[in-house]
Symmetry: C2
Subunit: 153 residues, 2 copies
């Protein structure tokens, strides 16, 4: 799995619509990548991401991205449901094929329930384009080591 010192995978994600690409390897100098298993799932929607949106230290975390194995339509709608005016500054990126997630080696088997395999829940702090810290939920989907309070302090 992804570890301290790694580069961010040079794999396109999508934002807002299916053909709008974002490459975190090129775009994210320093900041935070939050991986989640499923847009609109209760743990992701009620606890994990709202915890970041509400956190007093969010603005000092640099660029913050949420990444999930969902398509751009779904990620866009999910973003609006959590943060209608994008006032948090968090950006919501889709990894529809799961290629970015597999490159980080954080995929887990979810296809029997959700149709496709998904991303373990994680938080990766990035500094100067490299992984500075990484916290991956050991049970894939819980909200503990990757929670806002643990990451943003």
């Amino acid at each position: 799995m992804v570890k301290v010192g790694d580069n961010i995978p040079n794999i396109d994600l999508v934002e807002g619509k299916p053909d709008a690409k974002v490459n975190l390897c090129k775009e994210l100098g320093s900041g935070l990548i939050i991986g989640v298993p499923a847009a609109f799932s209760p743990a992701c929607s009620d606890t994990h991401i709202p915890g970041y949106i509400a956190h007093s230290k969010l603005k000092s975390a640099g660029k913050v991205f949420v990444v999930s194995v969902n398509d751009a339509f779904v990620m866009n709608a999910w973003a609006k449901s959590l943060d209608e005016n994008s006032s948090s500054g968090i950006r919501f990126l889709g990894d529809p094929s799961g290629a970015f997630t597999r490159a980080l080696d954080v995929e887990f088997e979810a296809a029997p329930l959700l149709g496709t395999n998904r991303s373990k829940r994680y938080a990766i702090v990035v500094e100067n384009g490299k992984v500075k810290s990484v916290d991956i939920e050991p049970d894939n989907i819980g909200v503990n080591v990757s929670a806002a309070d643990k990451i943003l302090g």
Copy 2:
């Protein structure tokens, strides 16, 4: 592709949450199945499904189901965004693996854009468990032959 006289595939779909199964082969005596390419996509969300929700003859169509190759979390959220209190009576079912869609032979290649292949847009009128009429969009995603005005008259 699915044709008049066919049975409805005996394949579970999901409703509301990933483990809540619905089998239209068993449940749908007479009514309507509306297939769509993608939850939260503009054509599906702004035109196709709202056209059914607003149609004066919807209530006489029997049981009405929307089916898409999306997971249950996404379909549930999409349903609430279109019809917050389920007042239309339309039920939104996910076909996360695409198995139901492939059994109807209405899948088209969408994986490069959306991560998974999806369902052509269609409307199937079902009577006594068999396909009474079927209208499939020839370009996969347009809203013409399967529009509410064409199907509900």
